[in-house]
């Protein structure tokens, strides 16, 4: 297990370094269109071939990984922090606080976010550079994606609130925020970790889905989301199997994220 964790760390680090050094590693600028060779097979010039507009697939994968690996965790962190705040406070205080907070969470879960996102996108200014659009997209996902985690966190906090060690801490005079921050929160860490890691692939895929609706990352900037859209074309994937590379990388990266988690966190 330790070896696997080390391998996972190594892989993730190398991917991070490669994406951060994309300017030097990538064979071509990610937006440059080699129009004479769309859908090209892998070659020395284009190690992963080209996409339907003739853009170098490896370069787009590197730059797209940079966008997704930085922004999806950022969105997951935002969502997890909101969930920790709402779920943690609700579970700790209990009573009508919990009812109100969980009511708000249920309401948030039942709202048609898709339409809200469409409305938000329709209201945004059009002349935003692609990088701004990608930040807005992930920020929206983070702001709107907290509610499922909040329920889990609330349930975990409620269990901890009624646990023996918290009772013992109370008996020793530890109360209020001190009890929450010193006793409850550290024990919620595994739940929050799990919610954080689980949210990352969800946000990556959400961004891909939003791309189809016009809310995703704007062209020509690549992201795993819009790279995965290349898989929509069944025949192109059959003819060019290397197009699965973004999906393969996504699966490996998510698996690595799971492997680097301390085993105790999962057990607890």
């Amino acid at each position: 297990m330790k070896t696997l964790r080390l391998l996972a760390w190594g892989f993730l680090l190398s991917i991070f370094v490669a994406t951060l050094l994309a300017e030097f590693v990538a064979p071509a600028p990610y937006a440059e269109q080699f129009r004479e060779s769309p859908n090209a097979l892998p070659s020395w010039q284009h190690p992963l071939g080209t996409d339907e507009l003739g853009r170098d697939a490896l370069s787009r994968l590197l730059y797209g990984s940079r966008v997704s690996l930085l922004l999806a965790p950022a969105a997951a962190l935002l969502a997890t922090l909101i969930a920790a705040l709402v779920g943690g406070v609700a579970g700790y205080l209990g009573g009508w606080w919990e009812r109100v907070a969980m009511g708000a969470t249920d309401l948030s879960l039942s709202l048609p976010w898709l339409f809200l996102l469409l409305t938000v996108r329709a209201m945004l200014p059009l002349n935003e550079p692609p990088m701004t659009s990608v930040v807005i997209t992930f920020a929206l996902l983070g702001l709107l994606g907290w509610s499922p985690s909040a329920r889990v966190v609330c349930a975990g906090t409620r269990t901890l609130r009624n646990s023996e060690f918290v009772l013992q801490a109370r008996a020793c005079g530890c109360r209020g925020w001190r009890l929450l921050l010193r006793q409850v929160l550290p024990n919620l860490k595994p739940v929050l970790y799990a919610q954080f890691w689980v949210s990352i692939p969800i946000f990556i895929l959400s961004e891909a889905n939003l791309g189809i609706l016009g809310l995703g990352v704007a062209e020509p900037l690549p992201s795993w989301g819009n790279l995965l859209r290349g898989l929509e074309n069944y025949s192109a994937v059959l003819n060019n199997p290397w197009r699965v590379a973004p999906l393969g990388l996504l699966i490996i990266v998510v698996s690595c994220f799971q492997l680097i988690l301390p085993l105790e966190d999962f057990r607890s």
């Binding site: 339907e52 507009l53 059009l126």
Partner: protein, 544 residues
């Protein structure tokens, strides 16, 4: 003995002869409707699926031949247009019956025209006949002659009758009694429409056999285009009316004889700049968009050939203007595609005070040239076109921000708030006649997209477009109409209110087991001659 065998031999010969003829008849043709038909009433058809039903079931006085692009007599044996396009007289065929057995006469034509022109019916087909205020008079001169008098000349009058399916004035279920090759036999909402051969259809082939050859047509409702292609490849359906370039190439690789590219269609893809004076845009941008040289330079900076090759896999043709070369009569042959020439585009921009500052184009006041282009999300070919245009414009220092929006948001921006800069969309043309484009070219019209609903034309060239379009609509002399509309195309080519990009090819799929199916560019591409389509005998029919 010989006396016994001779009649038997005769019967056997007759049986063989009958089976040879029957080899052409029978069986069920299957294809998909993209959506539920909204109506079976032929006079209020407004959607594609209902139009399909109308085409397959409706009998018309005059048919526009989709292949020759000429008018041919159907229920009308002959016709004559007079009084400068105000009057049309029909001589009808005799001995024709509706599908329910009722005889067809001039009274049915009169009944249909009165129903069609009833303002309470709100018939889109009827609207195309309304050239001026006033009543349409229909006189039945004898059981097989009818005269229709319009309050003002109607341009392309006889062609409009291609859309008018004649109703029965005496049948109890008027909309279900038809004169076309098929009638609606069964319908399950959301699932299918079943059409059966009209037993009283009047047409016969050269050997005297009653048409249509097919027994029935089953139209299943299927919205998913990928499923449609999959089912075609499995042989579960026999026709696909329209394919995108990717699906076409996939099919052509597997079943070359089934894939048909009929050349450029009437449909076009174009972009335009927002020239609405009240639009919430900076003044300097409005000045750019209203500059003819700016628009022309953008047009010249776009590589249309590359778009055809890369986005449409060569199944498209660079567009010259609003009329596709597929429209043989109305296309202005004197015009050519704006050539791709970034240097020429820069020189043209220089005339307007634009200059390159390093790799950034700036206007006279120093503003960097940057604007957004909106298009509808989910349309892969448009998104790819936009990305290619983005790179083309980057070469002359222009930054283009591509924004894909859901369709309702896009329509809201281009038709109500006018909060956009450039838009890329397509236009689906179903009519060859320029009168069908009145709502696009008249400055007062709502579909005058770059600056709609003008109280009076804001530019001299738009005023000229108004005059020319009205002039072509008010005469029946096709030569004069062509002159007027050629001039319209010339002005549009010069002023570039729309930057026409490409005409997609008409791509369709026809099962090799079908005979007599000759896909064309006009709708309905694959079954325009449905009464003559039949299943070829197995030995020569290929795949089944």
């Amino acid at each position: 003995m010989r006396r016994i065998w001779s009649p038997l031999l005769l019967v056997a010969l007759l049986a063989v002869s009958a089976s040879t003829t029957a080899a052409q008849s029978g069986r069920e043709l299957r294809f998909y409707l993209p959506a539920e038909p909204k109506t079976f009433h032929p006079l209020v058809v407004a959607d594609d699926s209902s139009e399909t039903i109308r085409y397959l079931t409706g009998g018309v006085l005059i048919r526009f031949n989709r292949q020759t692009q000429e008018l041919q007599p159907e229920l009308a044996a002959s016709w004559k247009v007079s009084e400068a396009g105000r009057k049309i007289s029909f001589k009808l065929r005799e001995g024709i019956l509706f599908s329910d057995g009722m005889p067809f006469s001039a009274e049915d034509v009169a009944f249909t025209m009165r129903a069609l022109m009833d303002p309470n019916l709100h018939s889109p087909t009827g609207d195309s006949f309304r050239s001026a205020e006033g009543q349409v008079k229909v006189n039945v001169t004898d059981p097989h002659s009818v005269v229709i008098l319009f309050p003002a000349p109607v341009a392309g009058l006889e062609r409009l009758f291609d859309q008018v399916a004649i109703l029965s004035s005496r049948s109890p279920k008027k909309e279900m009694a038809v004169l076309g090759p098929f009638y609606v036999a069964d319908y399950k909402a959301g699932s299918y429409v079943l059409l059966r051969q009209n037993p009283n259809y009047w047409k016969r082939d050269s050997t005297g056999q009653r048409l249509p050859y097919l027994d029935s047509i089953r139209l299943d409702i299927q919205q998913n285009r990928d499923m449609e292609l999959l089912h075609f490849r499995r042989g579960e359906i026999h026709l696909i009316n329209s394919l995108d370039a990717e699906s076409f190439d996939r099919l052509a690789g597997e079943m070359p004889s089934a894939a048909h590219d009929a050349g450029p269609s009437l449909d076009s893809e174009q972009m335009w700049f927002n020239q609405v004076s009240s639009a919430p845009l900076p003044t300097y941008k409005k000045a750019w968009f209203r500059s003819q040289n700016f628009r022309r330079a953008i047009s010249e900076a776009i590589n249309r050939e590359d778009i055809c090759r890369v986005v449409f896999a060569r199944h498209a043709r660079p567009a010259v203007g609003p009329v596709s070369p597929a429209n043989r009569f109305w296309f202005n042959q004197a015009l050519h595609v704006h050539p791709f020439d970034p240097q020429k585009a820069l020189r043209r921009l220089g005339q307007e005070g634009f200059h390159l500052d390093g790799k950034v184009l700036r206007d006279r006041e120093g503003h960097s040239v940057e604007f957004s282009l909106i298009t509808n999300a989910g349309n892969k070919s448009r998104e790819r076109m936009a990305t290619m245009i983005q790179q083309d414009l980057a070469q002359i220092g222009i930054r283009l921000n591509v924004v894909t929006l859901d369709f309702p948001s896009l329509i809201e921006r281009i038709s109500r708030t006018f909060d956009y800069e450039t838009c890329l969309l397509g236009l689906v043309n179903v009519d060859l006649d320029p009168s069908a484009q009145m709502s696009v070219w008249l400055s007062s019209a709502s579909s005058h997209q770059w600056n709609p609903n003008q109280k009076s034309p804001e530019t001299p060239w738009e005023a000229e477009l108004d005059l020319l379009m009205r002039a072509q609509a008010s005469t029946t002399d096709n030569k004069k109409r062509k002159e007027y509309f050629d001039k319209v195309q010339q002005i549009v080519w010069d002023q570039v209110p729309f930057i026409y990009l490409i005409h997609k090819n008409a791509l369709s799929a026809v099962s090799p087991s079908l005979a007599n199916a000759t896909p064309g560019v006009l709708r309905p591409q694959t079954y325009w001659n449905v009464e003559k389509i039949y299943f070829a005998p197995e030995k020569s029919g290929g795949r089944r």
